[in-house]
Subunit: 677 residues, 2 copies
C-alpha cells in the first residue's frame, strides 16, 4: 500500500510542482480520462485530435468523421466542423478537412472545461478568417522586439537537432484556439533567415507544428538578394532579383511543402524596399507574390509606412496605398495596423479599411503590450480588438464593419487573414503576466469568431485558467473588461496618443521633444499650448477626417459630434471647452486620469479578495504586478497632469487626489529598457 | 518723478526679493512705523525694545518703565510685564527687569500683528519657566546631529572676528517668543569647546545675544580635564580634576559674565562620565555644580541613560536616578526627555517626572523632527508637547501635571527650566520646512505659557507668518492640529514605537534585527509573533507600569483600561483582540495606517486650495514637501502592514487601499542619510 502511494506520488509530483506556474496556460484539463475515440481516417493531424480527446474527454464515445461532400465543404470550409449527438452517449464530429476535426475536438473539450456542455449537441462552427496568424517579432539572436516575456522561444542555435518541448506546447495552445500559422521572425527581418542553414531550422519547427494544423511563415528582408544573394541590387524589376526569389521560394517549398508565405515590412522605418529603386509597393509585392504563387504561398505586405517630412503621420499609409488599389496580385494581402498611428491605447480605426476596395486587406493587432504597460499591466485586449473590428466604415452603407471587410464578407478576396503580434516568450508563464495569456487567447478566439463578446471570451479563459467558481469568474471578468478603459484613462484619455518616453514606450514623456524625427515626439501628437491641446485633423487642419467615409467624416470633423474618446485625435480643444459632462475640458482630463488610478486600485482590492480561489503563486504574482500597475498609474497621472498644467495654467480640481511627484523629477527618469528579454 | 520711483525701487528691492523665502520667520511686520517710545532707563536691552516698537508699533506713544517695587517683582519675576493704557493713545509697559520690558514690547507687537489688540490694555504676563532654552546639537565641524536644515548657524572658523548677521536674527527671533538661552553645542560634546580659543568665539556670540536677553550655555564633555587638561583622569573625586573645572569655569565667566551653565550627557550612549571611575551621576554633577555655583551657573544633567544589558530600556532612567533623589546640589537640574524611550511620535510621559521629589527636574523636548519625518513632513508639535506637559502624574493627587512639576509649582526648586532640541540650521528658511518654524515658535510660546492651546499658538504663528485671512487661517490651523495624529497613524499607531531604520531614523524598518545593541533594534520594541504584538510592560512583564503612580499604574497595567494609544507600549496584544471600535486589533492597526495616508492626502488637497493666499515660492515649497510626505506615508504603511502581516497572517481589510510595494523591495532600501547637513 505504502509503496503504491509512493509510486503515485512520484508520478504526480512533477505535475503538481509545476502545476500553477502558468506554464499550462488555459490547457489545464485533467489528462486522466480514457475516452473511446474512433476516426474514419488516420493521419498525424487526426491522431492529435484523437489523443486530446482520449486523455481529456469525459463523455460518450466520439466519432471523428472526415467527409467529402461539396455542400458540407461549402458550408464549413477547410477548418469548420459540426458536432452532433449526445454528450453522455455518442458524439459525432464531422468536417471537410482534417483541421476541422482537430478544431472540433478542442471545441468539445472547451465546452466541457467551461461547464457549458449541453446534453444534446448541435453545433456548427467555421472560422471568420482563413489565416489566423501570430507575428513573432523575434530576432535571430534570441531577443524579441517589443517582447516582455523573456527571450525568444526559438532556439536557433540548437535547431534543427534539438527541439525544445515548448515548440509542441506552443503549437498545441495555438491549435486549441484556432490559430493556424506563425510568422517566426521579426518584421525588421534579418536576411539570414533565408540562408539554407536557417531554412533547415525552420523546417524542423514546421514539422513540430504540422500535426497541430499550424503553418510557418517568414518575414523577409527586401534586400535579401543583395545581402545574402550577392546581387548588385534588390530591384524588383531586375530579372536576376526575380530569379533569385524564385529559386529561394522553390528551396523553401522543397523543405516545407506547406510553407505559408512571406510577411514584408518594406520602406518603413529604415527597412529596404522597392522604393529604394524607384519601384512601388505594388511592384515589390507582386514580384514576391509571383514567386510564391505556384506553391500557394501568400505575401503579406505591411501598410505601416510613414515619412518624417509629411504633414500628418496618421494620413500617410492611406495616401501611399490607395493609388495602388487593384494593382496587387491576388495572393498579396495588405496587412494594416488597427489604427492609423501605432497600437496606441485607443485609436480610431485605420481609414485604409474599406478604402482599399480592389486589394485584399488584413488587420494587424498587437497582442504584446508595447504601449499598454507591457507585461506589468493587467490590460485585457479583447475590448480593444473588438472596438476596431466592430467599427463601421460606412463604405457600403451602415454595417460595413472592419470585421466584415477584412473577413471578406464585403468584397470578394482570395484570402482573409488576421494577424496578432505575439506576446510570447520563454518565460515559464509564456507571456510575462498571467493575465496577458488572456490576450493571446482572445486574439485566437476572435480570429475564429469576431462575434464573440469580450465577456464570453474572458469567462472561457478564466474558467480554464483558474477556476469555474462564479465567485471568482464574475468579478474578475468585470475587472478584465474594465481594464482597457483604465489604461486609457491613466495613460491617454480623450483622444490623446503617443505620449510615451522615447524608445521603450513604457513610461510617460508628454514633454518629449528631442531632436530626431518630429513624428516620434510626443509634442507632435498633443500640440499643447496655453490656449488649447490636440491635433487638428479636421478639414481646417491636416484633413485626415476626409480619409473616412460619410457620415464619419462629418461626425469626426465637428467638435460637437466627434466622440469624446477621440476628441484630441481630431481636434484642438480649448482648455475651457465645455464637455458633455458639463465640465471644462481641463477638468474632464484631470478626472479621467484620476479615474484610471482609482480603477487600478480597485483592481487591487478586487484581486486581493480572490485569494481563496487562486493558487498561492499565481495569486501573489498577479498581486505583485498590480502593485506595479498602481504605482505606474500614479506616475502617468502625475506626469501628464503636471505637464499639461504648465500649459492650461488651471488648478487640478481640488476633490482629486493631488500629485505626489515633481514634474522635474519625472522628467529625469531614464529607464534602461532597450531590451526586455 | 521717475528718479524717485527708481530710488524707492532700489530701496525696497532687496526686501521684496528675499521677502517670501521664509527667512523672516514670523517676524514679517512692516518696519516702516515711526512710533514714539520713551523709557525711564537706557541700556542695550531696553534699546532693543525701543527699536522694535519704533519701527513696528502703529498705536499711541509707548512708555517703558522699569520699576523696583518688591511686590511687582514678586508678581512678575525678572521676565514678566504688565501692559496698560489705551492702544491708540498711551501704552504703558512696566516690568521689574529689563527683559520684562523687552518681552512686553514683543507681546504688544504680536497682538498688533495677529489683529488681537483691544482698545483698552490690561495685560499681565510672566513666564512658566525661568530657563527657556534651545539645545543645539551642533558639532564644531559645522554638522548638526539630527539637524535637517543645513549646517550649523555657528561659523566657528570665522569666529570671533566675523559675525554672521544671522546670529542677531536668531537672537531676535528667540527673544520675540521668550526664549532666553541656547546651549550652543552638541550634547555629544567635543572637549575642544572648552579650549580658550573656542571660549573666545563663544564670548563673541554671547555679546550678540545679550541685548536680546539670551544667555549662552555649553555642553561639556565629562572627560575634558583628561583630554584637553592633560590630567591622568576625569574622576570627580580627584582634587586635580575639581581644580581644573574651577579654573575653567572662572575663565569662562571672566569672558562671559552672564554665562548660563553646562549641559552634560554623561555615561550615555558611549559618552564619558563619573561611572567610568565608579562615581555616581550625583558625584559627577555636584562637582561641576560646585564650580559653577559662585557665578550663578547651573548644571543640566541629562537623565537619558540606558544600558544594553538591562531588561527594559524604558525603565532605566528611573531606576538609575531615583536612588540619588535629594543628593544633587541645588544648582543641578535633571534634564529628562518627555518620554521614557526617545522622542517617538507618541510615548507616555517619562515616569521620572514627579518621582524625583527632592531634585529639580526639567523637561527636554525635541523640536527637530528626528523621528517625525525630519524636515520633509509637516508635523506641528504643539499637541505633542502639550500631551506630555498636561499629563497627570498623580504624584500629589489629581492635577499633578508634568507642567506643574517641571514649572516648580508642585515642589519648590531653585530654578525651573525647559529645553527644546533645536531644528535650526543655515537654510534660508532656518528650519528646512516652512512649517517646522511653527515648532520653534510653539516651543517658545509654551515655555512661556504652557496653558496656551495648540490652536491659539498655531493661529498666532500662521497670522504672522502667512496672512491673517480667515479663509487661510482656519483650515490650515486645523491641518496643523491634525498633523501629529497623522504622523502617529502612518508611522506608529496604537503604542508602537521605534520601528525606524537604523541610523537615520527616517524610514520604516520594523524588521530591523541586525547584530548590535538589542535595544537599538525594532524587533526589541514590537516583539511581533504569530500570536501577538507589543511589549509587555505590565506587572507580568517588565513591570515598567510600576514606575507610575496609582491610578496610572493600574490603568496602564490592565489591557482593558490602558488607553489604546499606548496599547502596544504596555501590552502584548493578540491579533484578534477586540478593540473599543469593535474591530480586531489587526484590523484596527490596518485602518490606522490607512487613515494616516488619507490624512496626508487631505493635507495636500487642503494646501492646494490655499494657493490664492500664499506667495508662490512658499506655496510651492510646502506643496513639494507634502508630496514627499504623501509618498512616505504610503511607504510607512506598506512596510509596516506587510511586515506585521507576515506575523498576523490575516488579510488587510479589503476596503483599505492595497499596498503598492513589495516587502522585500522595501527591506532593500538603504538611505544614505548619515548627515543631513
Amino acid at each position: 500500500m505504502k509503496k503504491k502511494l509512493l509510486f503515485v506520488f512520484i508520478l504526480l509530483f512533477p505535475f503538481f510542482l509545476k502545476a500553477e506556474d502558468g506554464s499550462r496556460l488555459w490547457l489545464r484539463a485533467g489528462q486522466d480520462a480514457s475516452a473511446t475515440v474512433v476516426a474514419n481516417k488516420q493521419s498525424p493531424l487526426i491522431a492529435t485530435a484523437m489523443e486530446e480527446l482520449q486523455h481529456q474527454w469525459r463523455g460518450g464515445k466520439v466519432h471523428l468523421t472526415l467527409r467529402s461532400e461539396k455542400a458540407l465543404r461549402n458550408l464549413l470550409g477547410k477548418d469548420g466542423f459540426r458536432i452532433t449527438g449526445h454528450t453522455a452517449k455518442e458524439v459525432h464530429i464531422q468536417a471537410s478537412g482534417e483541421t476541422g476535426l482537430l478544431y472540433g475536438a478542442y471545441h468539445l473539450l472547451r465546452l466541457q472545461e467551461t461547464r457549458q456542455l449541453p446534453d444534446e449537441l448541435n453545433i456548427t462552427e467555421s472560422p471568420a478568417y482563413d489565416l489566423r496568424l501570430l507575428n513573432h517579432w523575434d530576432n535571430l539572436n534570441g531577443t524579441i522586439e517589443r517582447g516582455y516575456a523573456g527571450h525568444s522561444l526559438w532556439k536557433w542555435e540548437e535547431l534543427p537537432h534539438t527541439l525544445s518541448p515548448r515548440y509542441k506546447q506552443y503549437a498545441r495552445a495555438n491549435a486549441s484556439i484556432g490559430i493556424n500559422g506563425a510568422v517566426l521572425n521579426n518584421v525588421n527581418a534579418s536576411p539570414d533567415i533565408l540562408r539554407t542553414e536557417y531554412l533547415g531550422k525552420v523546417k524542423a519547427i514546421a514539422e513540430v507544428f504540422r500535426p497541430y494544423g499550424m503553418k510557418v511563415y517568414l518575414s523577409v528582408n527586401f534586400a535579401s538578394p543583395k545581402v545574402i544573394g550577392g546581387l548588385p541590387d534588390a530591384d524588383p524589376s531586375n530579372p536576376e532579383v526575380q530569379t533569385w526569389w524564385k529559386h529561394k521560394v522553390k528551396e523553401i517549398y522543397a523543405l516545407i511543402p506547406d510553407f505559408g508565405g512571406f510577411l514584408v515590412k518594406a520602406n518603413s522605418e529604415g527597412q529596404p524596399g522597392p522604393q529604394d529603386y524607384g519601384r512601388s509597393h505594388a511592384e515589390g509585392a507582386n514580384m514576391l507574390a509571383g514567386a510564391l504563387k505556384p506553391f500557394g504561398g501568400v505575401v503579406m505586405w505591411r501598410a505601416f509606412v510613414y515619412a518624417p517630412d509629411s504633414d500628418d503621420r496618421a494620413k500617410q499609409a492611406y495616401a501611399e496605398f490607395i493609388p495602388f488599389d487593384g494593382r496587387f496580385r491576388e495572393n498579396v494581402i495588405i496587412q494594416i495596423k488597427n489604427g492609423p498611428v501605432d497600437f496606441q491605447p485607443r485609436e480610431p480605426f485605420n481609414p485604409l479599411f474599406g478604402a482599399l476596395q480592389s486589394t485584399p486587406s488584413m488587420i494587424e493587432f498587437q497582442v504584446t503590450q508595447e504601449y499598454l504597460g507591457q507585461s506589468n499591466h493587467l490590460v485585457y485586449l479583447a475590448p480593444l480588438f473588438k472596438e476596431t473590428l466592430d467599427s463601421d466604415t460606412y463604405i457600403k452603407g451602415e454595417g460595413s464593419t472592419v470585421a466584415k471587410i477584412t473577413g471578406g464578407a464585403l468584397y470578394p478576396q482570395m484570402l482573409s487573414a488576421i494577424a496578432g503580434v505575439a506576446n510570447i516568450g520563454e518565460d515559464t508563464n509564456w507571456c510575462g503576466h498571467h493575465f496577458a495569456q488572456a490576450n493571446w487567447y482572445a486574439f485566437g478566439r476572435l480570429a475564429w469568431d469576431y462575434r464573440l463578446s469580450s465577456e464570453e471570451i474572458a469567462e472561457e479563459w478564466l474558467k480554464m485558467t483558474f477556476t469555474t467558481d462564479a465567485r471568482f469568474i464574475v468579478p474578475v471578468r468585470d475587472m478584465m473588461i474594465e481594464s482597457r478603459e483604465a489604461v486609457v484613462n491613466y495613460m491617454m484619455p480623450l483622444g490623446l496618443h503617443h505620449l510615451f518616453a522615447e524608445g521603450h514606450h513604457y513610461g510617460p514623456a508628454p514633454w518629449y521633444d528631442a531632436p530626431g524625427r518630429p513624428d516620434w515626439r510626443s509634442v507632435y501628437y498633443h500640440q499643447a499650448t496655453p490656449e488649447a491641446i490636440g491635433f487638428d485633423r479636421t478639414t481646417n487642419g491636416s484633413d485626415a477626417v476626409s480619409q473616412y467615409n460619410s457620415p464619419l467624416k462629418e461626425r469626426y470633423n465637428d467638435i460637437e459630434t466627434c466622440p469624446e474618446v477621440f476628441l484630441l485625435w481630431f481636434h484642438r480643444v480649448p482648455w475651457d471647452y465645455r464637455m458633455k459632462s458639463g465640465k471644462t475640458f481641463w477638468d474632464e482630463l484631470c478626472y479621467a486620469y484620476d479615474a484610471g488610478v482609482t480603477q487600478v486600485r480597485n483592481f487591487q482590492k478586487l484581486w486581493d479578495r480572490m485569494e481563496p480561489y487562486v493558487d498561492t503563486s499565481r495569486f501573489k504574482e498577479v498581486q505583485s504586478k498590480l502593485k506595479i500597475q498602481a504605482r505606474d498609474a500614479v506616475w502617468w497621472k502625475d506626469a501628464c497632469l503636471l505637464y499639461f498644467q504648465s500649459f492650461s495654467q488651471r488648478p487640478i480640481p481640488y476633490e482629486i487626489e493631488r500629485p505626489v511627484y515633481e514634474l522635474e523629477d519625472l522628467k529625469k527618469i531614464k529607464l534602461d529598457m532597450k531590451h526586455h528579454n
